[in-house]
């Protein structure tokens, strides 16, 4: 197996998910020459439910990958030799959609007596349980409901809050319900100070040590690509690009997704990709408290703020 | 007259040669009719045409509208899930049950009743199968080598019993034994090669009933006649 690439050789970049709005910058780098401009030959490969970028990176099948913070922390707990070189999302896109409401916010007390969908074993469970603990809401006061990808229980009103990726399915479902005359809003844990980091860019420690230049140029190419993809001036270009790869989503939807993505990815006043160490530490703490990991992993040690 | 076949011509769908060419025959009176001829000449085929199991022949067959013509042969089997006795009882109309008991004794089947069909000897299989056909409602029963694997003594006894019990029915008896068809059949249809004409020659048999004595010389003449016809 290929452990590390020779200079000029193609590097494999494994995404976390299928091509959609969350891969806009990655595709932008590929299609609009950003990688080439950095002297990189990159094979961008989509992810999926059965794909795990961390495993692939460790197995040497990919050199870079996208993984969520909880995946990173779990992998660290099992000794995976990986490091984080950029953080894609500043706010977690994993939120809860609900009917009515006026703003994308609801107080913690609004959860009492409601039926809240969670994916058992998923991030949303960890986040929701942590939130309930933080606001001292006894689990007996909310109805937890096991969800799957079928939204019927939400549509039929059986479940009040449904976990959803804000900038992807969130837009689609919101639109669908809007067309039927239903208003929807989102419940945002970040706003309640439960900050759980989402997708970030990873590679192995070995890559950083043996090919620091390659890591640097990949990182900066990707940050540039995302910066450009998210730039308002390039909106049309980005929408067309994402649509080319994700034909199942109409352009109008992609436009709305892009707007939502900007809010989640670009920090208030900074550059794309910034690693929020405090949020990572909180993420680790939450996972520890919720018993997802058994011992601290000191995640800050693998956060390479400038990719070194 | 039960049956009249006129100008039957037949070739199997995937067969090369004709089996019958303008064949004519008839069954005029009740009783035992022999169907005799060399192996492969078409006896089973003719029997199945008469019984209505083979269609697509040319020519004409006339028979009474409600005539029931059954074809039985020696390769049939009874189902395996219960004993031979049970199967026989099950396919016998209630009114015929005494007859069933008589047949079982005459056919020497008592020792087989508790066995499954697969546990019988060949001749026992033959007899069990024939028994159930005899208990059905029929006008003509075709016995296509139905007793081929039964010993001669038992066969003789079976034929005598059938003739005694079913005097008004028609039987078409296919066998390879000249002596047998000559002795027991009233008329013998000798089936000959498709190239010969007429394809069937009818010979009168001795039609023995019970243990009546038989003139040896007459019988031998009949046998010779049959062998020459074939």
């Amino acid at each position: 197996e290929r452990q590390s690439p020779e200079p000029g050789e193609e590097v494999v970049y494994r995404l976390k998910w299928l091509y959609n709005i969350n891969t806009a910058g990655d595709l932008y780098g590929l299609e609009h020459g950003v990688f080439t401009a950095h002297n990189l030959k990159v094979a961008v490969k989509p992810g999926g439910p059965e794909r795990d970028a961390i495993r692939e990176v460790e197995l040497g099948r990919a050199q870079f990958g996208v993984a969520s913070a909880d995946q990173v922390i779990r992998a660290l707990a099992k000794g995976a030799p990986i490091v984080v070189i950029a953080q894609l999302f500043q706010g977690n896109p994993l939120q809860w959609i609900y009917r009515g409401g006026n703003a994308d916010y609801a107080g913690p007390d609004d959860l009492r007596g409601k039926t809240v969908g969670i994916t058992y074993g998923g991030n949303d469970e960890t986040i929701m349980r942590s939130l309930l603990a933080k606001y001292s809401i006894p689990p007996s006061e909310v109805n937890l409901f096991s969800v799957r990808y079928d939204y019927t229980p939400f549509y039929s009103g059986e479940v009040d809050l449904w976990p959803i990726y804000r900038n992807a399915e969130g837009i689609v479902i919101g639109e669908k319900m809007a067309r039927a005359g239903e208003k929807t809003s989102f419940f945002v844990p970040d706003l309640l100070d439960v900050r759980f980091v989402a997708n970030s860019l990873i590679t192995t420690r070995k890559m950083v040590e043996e090919h620091p230049d390659l890591v640097q140029s990949f990182r900066s190419a990707l940050l540039t690509a995302w910066q450009e993809a998210l730039a308002p001036a390039n909106t049309e270009k980005t929408i067309a690009l994402v649509h080319a790869y994700d034909q199942n989503t109409p352009q109008e939807i992609i436009a709305k997704q892009l707007a939502a993505t900007r809010e989640l990815m670009l920090p208030e006043n900074g550059r794309f990709g910034q690693i929020d160490v405090a949020a990572w530490q909180q993420t680790e703490r939450i996972m520890l408290e919720q018993g997802v990991i058994e011992a601290p992993v000191h995640v800050d040690k693998v956060l390479l703020l400038d990719g070194r | 007259m039960l049956l009249q076949c006129r100008n039957i011509t037949y070739r199997y769908p995937h067969g090369e040669a004709l089996v019958f060419n303008q064949l004519n025959c008839r069954l005029a009176d009740p009783g035992f009719h022999g169907l005799f001829g060399p192996s492969g000449v078409g006896k089973s085929t003719l029997a199945r045409i008469i019984a209505g199991e083979i269609i697509g022949f040319a020519g004409e067959i006339t028979r009474p509208d409600n005539a029931v013509m059954l074809y039985s042969c020696n390769t049939e089997r009874l189902p395996g899930w219960s004993s031979v006795g049970d199967h026989l009882a099950k396919v016998t109309p209630a009114s015929q049950l005494p007859l069933l008991r008589e047949l079982i004794t005459a056919f020497d089947l008592n020792s087989c009743l508790d066995s499954r069909f697969s546990q019988l000897s060949l001749g026992q299989k033959n007899r069990a199968n024939l028994t159930r056909y005899l208990l059905q409602d029929f006008d003509l029963l075709i016995m296509d080598e139905s007793l081929a694997n039964v010993d001669e003594a038992t066969r003789k006894q079976i034929i005598a019993t059938i003739k005694k019990m079913f005097p008004d029915k028609y039987f078409l008896y296919i066998s390879h034994s000249v002596a047998e068809v000559s002795t027991f059949c009233a008329r013998i249809l000798v089936l000959r090669d498709v190239l010969k004409s007429p394809q069937i020659i009818e010979v009168a048999g001795r039609d023995q009933h019970g243990d009546t004595a038989m003139d040896r010389a007459v019988l031998e003449r009949t046998m010779l006649e049959i062998v020459h016809a074939a």
Partner: protein, 253 residues
């Protein structure tokens, strides 16, 4: 027979495990990619009680689903046996139902039936009924002329008798398929739990996968294998008893 099945399973399982571990140590992979032996051991000890209850739960549903599937396949095969229009339609429906991946049909099932036990049973049954159906159709449409002739010409043939004759003549093949499809009932139940339920080993498996916890996955696969073997053995024993009662030469595949 039981110890044989189980030990065969164990050999296979540990061969597979050995292969994985060999890969791990050859390429010195972390526990995340392939868990180490002690990791597996600890995890197994940790989850054993829970997973055992879960797999028993699953087994219960699987047995009922299996019965359901056998009934379903029997009905469809019998109905689809004839050459008439209804038969053809039923068969087409049966084939097409199968053409849809259950993951795609599941939402429709959940809409129609809600997400209680009925949906789970139906999914388990659907997954396991098709192989049964194929064999049943193959067997039930093939005449056994040497036995059927008498019943046909004497006007005694009913569809029940026809089915009985053909099934009995192919009893060993039927046993093989019925026993073998037990595995599919098990897997069907697991998939149903994976998709929609909140109990059973399929549900545990889904969580382990979400958590990328390969050690738990391996532990679950172990228990699934053991109980699958147990179920198979029970069916084989049952099959032998049935065959003996029917008076056919008992045989096992």
């Amino acid at each position: 027979m039981l110890p044989k099945r189980i030990s065969q399973f164990l050999i296979i399982y540990f061969l597979g495990l050995g292969l994985l571990l060999a890969i791990k140590y050859c390429f010195s992979l972390s526990d995340y990619v392939i868990p180490g032996f002690t990791d597996i051991e600890n995890t197994a000890a940790d989850v054993f009680g829970r997973y055992l209850r879960a797999v028993l739960d699953t087994l219960g549903v699987a047995v009922i689903g299996h019965l359901l599937a056998i009934a379903l396949a029997t009905v469809v095969a019998i109905a689809g046996r004839g050459d008439n229009l209804v038969g053809a339609m039923i068969k087409t429906a049966a084939y097409n139902l199968q053409a849809y991946p259950i993951v795609a049909v599941a939402p429709i099932i959940f809409i129609l039936l809600g997400d209680g036990l009925p949906s789970r049973l139906l999914i388990a049954a659907i997954i396991c009924y098709f192989p049964l159906l194929l064999s049943f159709i193959g067997i039930l449409t093939e005449p056994v002329a040497s036995i059927e002739h008498f019943y046909v010409v004497t006007g005694r043939m009913r569809w029940q008798l026809e089915v009985k004759i053909r099934a009995f003549e192919n009893i060993h093949k039927l046993m093989t398929v019925v026993t073998g499809s037990a595995t599919l009932a098990m897997v069907g139940t697991i998939v149903a739990e994976f998709i929609g339920a909140d109990s059973g080993i399929g549900y545990s498996l889904r969580i382990a996968l979400y958590q990328s916890d390969m050690a738990k996955v391996l532990a679950a696969l172990f228990l699934i294998g053991v109980f699958n073997s147990l179920y198979l053995v029970s069916l084989e024993l049952l099959g032998l008893v049935i065959q003996k009662n029917m008076g056919v030469e008992p045989r096992m595949n």
